[in-house]
Amino acid sequence: MSRRTSPVIPGFGLTLGYTLVYLSLLVFLPLAGMFIYASQLSWSEFYTIISAPRVLAALKLSFGTAFIAALLNGVIGTLFAWVLVRYRFPGRKVIDAMIDLPFALPTAVAGIALTALYAPNGFVGRFANDLGIAIAYTPFGITLALTFVTLPFVVRTIQPVLADIPRELEEAATCLGARPLQVFRYVLLPALLPAWLTGFALAFARGVGEYGSVIFIAGNMPGKTEILPLLIMVKLDQYDYVGATAIGVMMLVVSFVLLLLINILQRYVAKG
């Protein structure tokens, strides 16, 4: 490896070596182990496991709810970021500090709290139930839990970018006769989109893998409200290591392909 920085800064070899060894032992080798474990399977055996109806249903549910939750966050998160950056109002600092609560709060606590709120006999669920809407123990409940745990991602990626956009740009557009929606569409949106996509991708990736906050509110009915991580857990409890590994490998590969696509889209958007 070639280095181009001034030679008086020491510690390059030591820190790079330590970083690589630490990451390899803790992350890379164990992950590689999973792929090696899965290679015991032939392609047709692998395909049989991941194309089982129960697995496909969980796959659709996990990726679908994570996608919708990330989209919802795209809207709610943009609203929060906009209000926090652009307006001064009572309680702004409290909201700004509390936005990170879903990251600080253990997911199991979030899970039981949301279930207590949205179960048919819960504080909010009761009213929804009267209206004939079931929230908990449906995909809707799963989406709600995922929206909660991934809420900070979009807010925190957009906030600094929005703060850096010079107000003069919008003022110039307004002076040239643009209406507020046109200002948003042609001035703000292009500047915000790359950050918005980053936040979306982070929320989506987290949502697909999320376990703790979901299992309490999901109801966990095989084929209906069973998420992919839970299915891995079920297989492990049955000592079906091979099945669990096959699903794990599929899940990782699908997530990475999607993240790669979002990354490409983001570069395309950033270029304009």
Binding site: V8, Y22, V109, A163, G209
Partner: protein, 286 residues
């Protein structure tokens, strides 16, 4: 934080005040629905049967041993990831080398891996049917369904926290101060302790707070490797799950409210270190 000051005239020009009011009100509504309600319900449910019951659930032996295990997992994983974070941030932000951006991406890798998979990979390595399973049984070493497994799983999910806070901060600070220290005759470690550490201490604190919060609350990864042996391999979040599934809701929410209070303390510390980072960066600019 933003430093944009908005005068009323500017706002009225860009957006009519009714739309501003509507946006602020909807942000408040979202805030209450999404963040305040879940927080309040934990405390309400925990105190349903009175304060005495609330405290009883917390000092019950299984809860105490779960608390101890959680603290142990935090005490091991946070310092290890702290040292890793400093080393990784040092090599990435103070040096230039081929493949640097790949390395930065790889440091974040654990964030896009499901916690369940983080647990699974260690079961495949150290479980009874795993790669080293037989060898471990012969030597009477237990990792899965035991404390070492819990520590490993916690380490995996918290690897990136300190590094990812330090990297942008140290990149922004550059290498001039370190170079000056070296040219004035400081040894490598003198430069590190007297120049680098004071510059990054609040960023370090920020990373440590986030790392601690996650280590304390990790559920999925720990759940896979724990085996749920009461009093032995239960962390606080796992203890909450067991109580909840036994329909012991008051106890579950009491232990949950302990975790909630810890989370709120983490938020306060995070806010504080963030304001110190900003102050330091602003001073440096002047």
């Amino acid at each position: 934080m933003s430093t944009t000051s908005t005068s009323p005239q500017q706002n009225s020009r860009n957006a009519p005040s009714w739309s501003r009011l509507a946006l602020i009100l909807s942000a408040w509504a979202m805030f209450i629905i999404f963040l305040v309600l879940p927080l309040a319900i934990v405390l309400i449910e925990a105190l349903k049967m009175g304060v005495a019951h609330f405290f009883e659930s917390m000092i019950e032996p299984d809860a105490i041993s779960a608390l101890k295990l959680t603290l142990l997992a935090v005490a091991i994983s946070v310092p290890l990831n702290l040292v890793f974070g400093v080393a990784a941030a040092w090599c990435v932000s103070k040096h230039d080398f081929y493949g640097k951006s790949v390395l930065i991406t790889l440091i974040d890798l654990p964030f896009s891996v499901s916690p369940i998979i983080a647990g699974l990979v260690y079961v495949l390595l150290f479980g009874a049917q795993g790669f080293f399973g037989e060898w471990l049984i012969e030597h009477d070493i237990q990792i899965i369904f035991a404390v070492p497994g819990i520590v490993l799983a916690t380490l995996f999910v918290t690897v990136p926290f300190v590094a990812r806070e330090l990297i942008p901060l140290m990149q922004q600070q550059g290498t001039q101060e370190e170079e000056a220290a070296r040219l004035l005759g400081a040894s490598g470690w003198q430069m590190f302790w007297h120049v680098t550490v004071p510059n990054i201490k609040w960023g370090l604190m920020y990373g440590v707070v986030l790392c601690t919060a996650r280590a304390m609350g990790e559920f999925g990864a720990v759940s896979v490797v724990s085996g749920h042996i009461r009093g032995f391999t239960n962390t606080l979040p796992l203890h909450v799950e067991i109580l909840y599934n036994e329909y012991n809701h008051v106890a579950a929410f009491s232990v949950a409210s302990l975790l909630l209070i810890l989370a709120l303390i983490m938020l306060l510390l995070k806010q504080w270190s963030e304001s110190r980072i900003n102050r330091q960066l602003n001073n440096g600019d002047e």
